[in-house]
Structure formats: C-alpha cells, structure tokens
Amino acid sequence: MTTAEGDVFAIRTSQDVVIVRQEVRARAVKAGLGLVDQTKIITAASELARNTLDYGGGGTVVMEAIEANGRRGVRLTFEDHGPGIADIELAMKDGYTSGQGLGLGLGGSRRLANEFFIESRIGEGTKVVITRWK
C-alpha cells in the first residue's frame, strides 16, 4: 500500500469543522469516490471533527490519499489529547453520549466508513482512523 504525505489540519473552532468537511470533499473527489461515498466520508469526518472539538478539547486530523491493490481511497486520522474514553464499547453505542450530542458520532461514522479504528487512553486522549475506498 502506498500512502501520500498526509496533510494536517487543526480542529480548534466550529469553523475548523467546516474547513475539514471541505478539505475531505476535495480529497474524496480526487480519489475518484462516487457521490454517495463522498457524502458518507464527509459526513463521518464532520461527526469525528466535532467529537474532537467537543469532547477532546480540540486536536488535529491527518488526511491521506491512499492506494492498495489498484484501489484508491481516503484515510483520516483524528487525534486529541483530551480526557479519553473510559468505555469505548459503550461510547460506540447509538444514543449514548457523555455530552450534549445525539450519541451518533462514533457508531454512525463507523457505519459510514469502510474501515474504522479507535484507540483511547484515560487522561491521554483519543485517536480515530477511518478509511473509505473507491
């Protein structure tokens, strides 16, 4: 698998969440994703960027164009140094939220991605990686 150099974007304000959506869209189009797949990865990115902001106290996203077995795709890595998630299984459940949200962000973005990875340590932060292939 080849990975192009990733671009890093800061997520500090709700305006940054809008920028993340626009940048993910540009990369999804470039990777040749169809309209529905573009919409899915942009929506998942929006959910995860908001989580990074609201629950992680801000952080970053790395956007990569990837290629494997002749398929192109987009990989997004969201990282924060917030309080971390105590019970990941519970946090993944639809309807569960520790804040003001609807509790659809993590579970929903997993459904919208082809690959989903989450890692979190209490007091250290959370990392979520999603990939959508063409």
């Binding site: 305006q15 809008v18 573009q38 942009i42 609807l102 579970g107 973005s109 919208l112």
Partner: protein, 129 residues
C-alpha cells in the same frame, strides 16, 4: 456574526440554506426562526436544503428541533430538496428525522403547507363553531 436570511411569504417563512453552516450558525438560525414564528404568527415554515452537500447529526438535530418548536408555536415545518446521497447517508448515520415533514421540492413543499394549514384552520373553525 453572519446569519441565514428568513423570508416571509404570506403566512409562511422561507429559508434557503446555501452555505456550509458551522454549528453556531445553525444554532442562530434555530433561535432566529423561533422568534420570527412568534413575532409574525407564521403558520408554516419551509426549509430548502437542496444546496447542502451533507446533513450530519448536528444539522439533523437542528431540523428536528425547528420542527418541534414550530409545532408548539402552531406552525408546520417542511424540509425540501434533500439530495438522494444525503438521504442515504443520513439513514445510515442513524438519523431518520421522524419528527420532520419532507417534500421533494419547494413546489410540493408549499402545496403540503397549504393543505396542512387549510386542514388545521378547518379544525379550528369547527371547534369555534
């Protein structure tokens, strides 16, 4: 701060969302619209989202809230113009907008509002009579 414009047309309020809204802008729209319904006595609200490339859980919740609040203030809300890719994504995300009436386009949305308002007016008259 920028605002989403709200147009009044007869007894209806029209909103066309043409920008990629950040969360605070969405909250401001919810608040502005609630005030406008109360101040104008509008009976219907039509929200055109045909320009929106995505609807995430935040915007989805905003639409749900607007519909719920306007119902309490005696107005009906119709959301029109949702793109097919957005609809597919929204359902997969886990949001089905059960509290929101939808129509394919502005024309059908206005027709739906007119028939809703007519029915409700009829009911009110009946009660009064």
């Amino acid at each position: 701060m920028e605002r989403i414009p709200i147009l009044a047309m007869g007894k209806a309020l029209l909103i066309t969302i043409q920008v990629d809204m950040h969360d605070r802008l969405a909250l401001a729209l919810e608040e502005d619209l609630t005030n406008r319904i109360a101040s104008t006595g509008a009976r219907g609200v039509l929200i055109d989202i045909s320009s929106l490339e995505i609807v995430d859980s935040f915007i989805g919740r905003m639409l749900d809230n607007i519909a719920a609040v306007s119902r309490v203030l005696d107005a009906e809300t119709v959301v029109v113009g949702m793109r097919p890719a957005v609809a597919i994504t929204l359902v997969e995300l886990g949001l089905s907008l059960t509290g929101v009436k939808t129509a394919l386009n502005v024309e059908r949305g206005m027709a739906l509002l007119r028939s809703q308002c007519a029915t409700r007016r009829g009911t009110h008259d009946h009660r009064r009579g």
